[in-house]
Subunit: 192 residues, 2 copies
DNA sequence: TTTCTTTCTTGTCTTTTGTAAACGTTTTTA
DNA sequence: TAAAAACGTTTACAAAAGACAAGAAAGAAA
């Protein structure tokens, strides 16, 4: 269950066997079907998720429409960080797009782990550093690149995403409408 | 010199006197004029900056044009995180927009501080958590909001920024051209 | 399979933005 | 102070995107 997770942590810090046992006992495994809401609108969340298998998205509702702002697949953390860290209610919804397998970590357990495992702060710090770089690149892409460039970049970084996520969700994730993405795709085909 | 900085850290963790002395000795003060480049294109950077006074921007060059992707004022960290953390050359340039006062921290000193100050990892971890939330909100705003909404949000969050930063830099920061921002401003005036 | 729902594409029209250039104003700086 | 550079706005035109609706295609469920 947790081997995949520790393959991930091993790339970041060297947890001892004892560390890993403490960590493993704090993590609970959860298997869910498609369309399961892991975090719901206007609810507080005290959980972080590590996605072992499957696919998730995070979305906002604006003018009655679901706008996808984040999509992720295997081997990454996800959570409504704002709500998790500040304790406010979440304006984001997180739901599965496929049957998925997750590890779940509660805030209380995490706070305990910070005290019990000296390396824990360093692990999270380094994970956040990498996450921050990713977010910064995504943000920069919105400023620097056209929607068409963002789409082709997304495809080259993650070719299988088109098979796993409906296009209209990818569209809002790219900051455009489904109609517009369809036209962009047509334009690309016509070019080649 | 470092009082302002420790006012900032005090909100995050309780460094001891000894911690603060170690930290203070690792920080060097730097006073610079407008248009000073703190990080340059295609150079490696091993420095983080804490802005005590003044105003900075981070920009990319695309098609010969400078595109501002980040602007910040007093009491915040800035750096080319990608280059700083991964050791690659920076594609970003960071420059001052006003005469500014900074604290400078070298990567080597930071790595030493992680060993000497037990709270250091926690401090950076919590700082990164807050930074991540900010980046996530900025990214979400690009997906959810129109340029006009982003502009009015920016003004309400940071009303003095219009006096401190040229409009054409704000424009690219909002993901649009200077021409477009000028039109948006006109539209807003006409509405009221 | 057949039905129902979701997804994707297309067309028309409107709005917004980008590009490029011109022009007056303000700010730098030599 | 005078010249040069930077800045903000405007215009005309082109390209792209949004809104809305219709219909085709694909997928899921009965």
């Amino acid at each position: 269950m947790t081997e995949t997770f520790f393959t991930y942590t091993d790339k970041i810090v060297n947890f001892t066997k004892a560390d890993k046992e403490l960590l493993a006992s704090a993590l609970s495994f959860r298997q869910v079907t498609t369309k399961t809401e892991l975090v719901s609108y206007d609810k507080r969340t005290d959980k972080l998720f590590f996605l072992l298998k499957g696919c998730l998205r995070k979305y906002y509702v604006k003018d009655g429409q679901q706008i996808t702002v984040y999509i992720t697949t295997e081997n990454s953390f996800i959570g409504a960080f704002d709500s998790f860290i500040t304790g406010t209610t979440s304006k984001e919804t997180i739901e599965t797009l496929e049957p998925s397998e997750l590890l779940v970590l509660n805030k209380k357990d995490l706070d305990r782990l910070y005290k019990e495992i000296p390396l824990m702060n360093e692990f999270v710090r380094k994970t956040l550093e990498l996450t921050l770089i990713q977010f910064q690149q995504a943000l920069t892409s919105f400023i620097l690149d056209s929607p068409e460039e963002r789409y082709t970049k997304l495809l080259s970084q993650n070719p299988e995403i088109l098979q796993r996520v409906p296009q209209h969700m990818l569209a809002t994730y790219l900051g455009i409408t489904a109609t517009s993405l369809s036209r962009i795709r047509k334009r690309i085909v016509e070019k080649s």
